[in-house]
């Protein structure tokens, strides 16, 4: 983790989080978390439910006060009286595409612009640019309640970007939308970085996380790994991963037996991803399954690091 931080020491850190703690009563929602986000990158924040992702994001966006620690956004410290400076640099899109269903697209965007103190002319300009970027093809007088979730997601993104923020924080932006909309949305996220935005995104989908320049993994409020996808894979899996495809359905006894012989034994569709324990050959597996070498995926990393110790 520290190597990764050192490697990027020369980049401009748009977000710096130092020794962040958030405690609710006696529960540590976030425990001594430190990381940074480079300007212009897509930074993925991964973790199981309740890992502390949303809590961390809420602190960065100024929605939640930290118990201790330091948060710096674009060189501005979160200190009383300066929250507004940071908030004006951040565009936040929460988990539930929080738009007003009983307002039209136009009315929702006008309200988003108003609370961000965006003048009318600037708002019109930003809106038309964002509509072009997002490729929204809807009548602005449509009620949000009548929109499919994919479009709502795009409108919510436009609302989050209407004040032209430097940092875009997306909290599980693709939850509850169709796979096609998810793919489109990630293409959009990439376009955002092309126009100079930094994207800080949380997700549950490991295939989506592959799109991130760097990834942080959270578990039980603690940060357990940070780095690029490649770095995480290399650091997590020193050994070769195999994919085995059983010739016949495995019995419970066989699964238990193989699990004991492996550091990783994880179902993957009709296959299993396997790392044999030191000194264990793949010969035992080859008798009952087809064995192939595979490159580890982020899902393997996630399972190993986040769920592995459960």
């Amino acid at each position: 983790m520290s190597n990764v931080n050192a490697a990027n020491a020369n980049s401009y850190h748009i977000v710096e989080v130092k020794n962040l703690n958030v405690v609710f009563g006696s529960f540590f929602a976030v425990k001594d978390v430190s990381f940074f986000v480079n300007k212009g990158e897509i930074f993925g924040f991964l973790g199981a439910n309740g890992a502390g992702k949303t809590t961390t994001i809420r602190v960065i966006c100024g929605l939640l006060c930290a118990t201790s620690g330091e948060v710096i956004v674009d060189n501005e410290h979160f200190i009383p009286g300066k929250e507004d400076i940071i908030k004006s640099k951040v565009g936040y899109m929460s988990q539930r595409f929080t738009l007003y269903n009983d307002l039209t697209i136009k009315e929702n965007l006008a309200f988003a612009a108003a609370i961000h103190k965006v003048p009318r002319k600037t708002m019109q300009k930003n809106k038309s640019e964002l509509f072009e970027l997002v490729k929204i093809d809807r009548d602005e007088s449509d009620l949000v309640a009548d929109l499919p979730s994919g479009i709502k997601q795009q409108i919510a993104l436009v609302a989050a970007l209407i004040h032209n923020p430097t940092l875009v924080v997306l909290d599980e932006p693709t939850a509850g939308v169709s796979p096609a909309s998810r793919a489109q949305f990630w293409a959009l996220i990439k376009r955002l970085t092309e126009i100079g935005k930094t994207v800080f995104v949380t997700t549950h989908y490991m295939d989506e996380a592959e799109n991130c320049n760097r990834i942080a993994l959270m578990r039980s409020g603690e940060l357990i790994a940070v780095g690029s996808g490649q770095e995480l894979k290399q650091n997590t899996f020193k050994q070769q991963i195999y994919s085995i495809t059983p010739k016949n359905e495995l019995t419970k006894e066989q699964i238990r037996d193989f699990s004991q012989k492996c550091d990783l034994f994880k179902p993957y569709g009709i296959h299993f991803h396997v790392i044999p324990k030191d000194g264990q050959s793949m010969g035992d597996f080859e008798t009952i399954a087809n064995v192939e070498n595979v490159t580890p995926s982020l899902e393997d990393v996630f399972v190993q690091l986040v769920e592995g110790d459960r």
Binding site: L63, L64, D84, I115
Partner: protein, 359 residues
């Protein structure tokens, strides 16, 4: 089996939400207490003034008997004219002896006594009239004198129309219900749907959110007051004897009080369901202790103090006073100050509780 499953689930859900559970259990207790203490149609603690010569024995007997009955409280009105005493709210009724005195008039066989009553509260006015008639009848019977005719003048509502008494109270209540509930529910809805998160992620001050969430409902409430007032005047012949500007300022003051109360309530609730239940409880208590239906003077002393802390009670007094009596300057000022004090207190509590973080 299915029914048991449903019943079990609903009870668990209701009681598991601590706020909802407290409200559900608290509501009947509050209702029984308020109903039990506030609801009584016995009219007591009537402030009675009298105008008669010191040597007018019969008038003195009548006044003494009235005070002894315990329905009435004696009030010295020697420094003020009878109608002014009622207009200023100093007394509820006055007995005025005829020129030359009631004793002489009875001696002549044409005994008359004038009774002026504040009839802006019809129920109270009718009861006062009945009490005095009965007391005078008893005094005449005990003294063996000829009967005395009571000439009753119900002021501000000469026809003793119940609607004239009820409608101003309804106007005050409608404003309260509408404004408080809209403010509280609107904020609860923002929290429930997650849009509150979006709002506080913007560089926006707490003051802006509070004003943004209250001014529209204050405007709607004020507009509705005049709609209801016009409806009352058209359909129930409700008089408007006061100054329109005074009425407007008083309503504006009260509407600010009602929105701050709605704002305060919103800081205790997390969703619309809790908001509705909370509004129901608060509005119920405010209504019962407003004097709209049950006179505050009839309540026990401790509950009367609670009622006097109720801004709706002062607003109801003022609406009745301005519409029916024309608005006595001292009376209006006193009650406006009471509303202002309540508003400042509620606003202070609301502002300190209303947070723009999710902590």
């Amino acid at each position: 089996m299915i029914l048991r499953g449903f019943i079990k689930k609903e009870i668990i859900q209701t009681l598991r939400d601590p706020r909802l559970g407290v409200m559900v259990l608290l509501t009947p207790v509050i209702q029984i207490l308020v109903f039990g203490y506030a609801i009584t149609n016995d009219v007591i603690n009537i402030r009675l003034g009298a105008y008669f010569q010191p040597r007018d024995v019969i008038a003195q007997d009548i006044y003494r008997s009235a005070i002894a009955s315990r329905w009435f409280l004696p009030v010295d009105t020697s420094d003020v004219a009878p109608e002014q005493a009622i207009l200023s709210g100093k007394v509820d009724a006055v007995i005025v002896a005829p020129e030359g005195g009631a004793t002489k008039a009875v001696g002549r066989g044409d005994g008359k006594l004038q009774l002026l009553i504040n009839a802006s509260n019809v129920l109270r006015a009718r009861a006062i009239d009945g009490y005095i008639q009965s007391i005078v009848h008893n005094v005449c019977w005990q003294n063996g004198s000829s009967p005395i005719h009571i000439v009753t003048r119900p002021l501000y509502n000469p026809a003793l129309e119940t609607t004239t008494f009820i409608v101003p109270g309804i106007i005050a209540m409608i404003l309260t219900i509408l404004v408080m509930m809209l403010t509280c529910t609107s904020i609860a809805k923002e929290r429930e749907s997650g849009t509150f998160e979006t709002i506080i992620s913007a560089p926006i001050k707490r003051r802006d959110i509070i004003l943004g969430k209250t001014i529209p409902f204050a405007m709607i409430g004020l507009f509705n007051t005049f709609v209801v007032l016009i409806a009352g005047m058209l359909f129930f012949d409700l008089p408007f004897r006061g100054n329109f500007f005074v009425f407007l300022v008083e309503n504006l003051l009260y509407v600010i009080c009602a929105v701050t109360l709605g704002l305060l309530m919103s800081t205790f609730v997390k969703n619309q369901q809790q908001s509705m239940l909370c509004s129901f409880i608060v509005i119920f208590v405010l209504m019962m202790l407003s004097g709209s239906f049950f006179p505050i003077d009839n309540m026990p002393v401790w509950l009367r103090w609670v009622a006097y802390a109720n801004p709706l009670a002062h607003h109801t007094f003022l609406v009745r006073n301005i519409l029916l009596k024309g608005g006595d300057a001292v009376y209006v000022t006193q009650h406006c100050l009471a509303i202002l004090a309540a508003t400042l207190f509620i606003a202070l509590c609301s502002f300190s509780r209303f947070k723009i973080t999710l902590n």
